[in-house]
Point group: C2
Chain length 109, copies 2
Amino acid sequence: MSENNENRDVFDAVADPTRRRLIRLLSEAEELPLHELTPHFQMGRTAVSKHLTILKEAGLVIDRKVGRETRFRLNATPLREIQDWVAYYTQFWSTNILRLKQLLKEEED
Amino acid sequence: MSENNENRDVFDAVADPTRRRLIRLLSEAEELPLHELTPHFQMGRTAVSKHLTILKEAGLVIDRKVGRETRFRLNATPLREIQDWVAYYTQFWSTNILRLKQLLKEEED
DNA sequence: ATTATAAGACACCATTTGGTGTCGTGTAAA
DNA sequence: TTTACACGACACCAAATGGTGTCTTATAAT
């Protein structure tokens, strides 16, 4: 028991704008407790907590208990999967095609 | 009327694994009609069509009618938003921190 | 002219999602 | 030692999601 449900898809975790804002907030501070994150949003504490749980399941957030509060910290490394994924498609961007055309042109000279 | 619903969040469009597979398939071919995409999946034609509609709403796919078939083509440019977003967080990756430490060490010498 | 194919448009359904409120418990403060 | 706070754990709910099947129309093939 006491297993971490780390089976959440990173793409899925990041799809929600609230969760992206949470990631941003956590990137700007070392560590933040739930009650300091909550007032940044219009929703209640429970909802924010749920979003943090999803981020935890994706490995994007680590939490530790300090006294009566739970402090959350960003772990950005799983985002590498997204970067790797998107990197493949940069070859299909028009700007890159333009850059490629330039390279080919330079090669002609 | 006849407006394109291009108001779909790219992160949301890309969150679904089926849609990511569609993007991949379309990246490997110039242009594909629905009935050639469908057999790659276990679901029915209607479901695949719906996923393509969502990709269209996100601007990731362009379709044109040729005879009785609708051919789909990838437009990767909206993925730039994702790359820009993820690029910001690369600074928080441990590997990058290691690289930074190396740079600082080199500066000491 | 008839038949088969491609796909849009619906109606429909189960499950997931994203929010709410409340209760109970551990910890800190008065 | 009493009171206030932080938060997890539920139970609950409306709306969105991801699939299905059927009907219709336009086009292609026989």
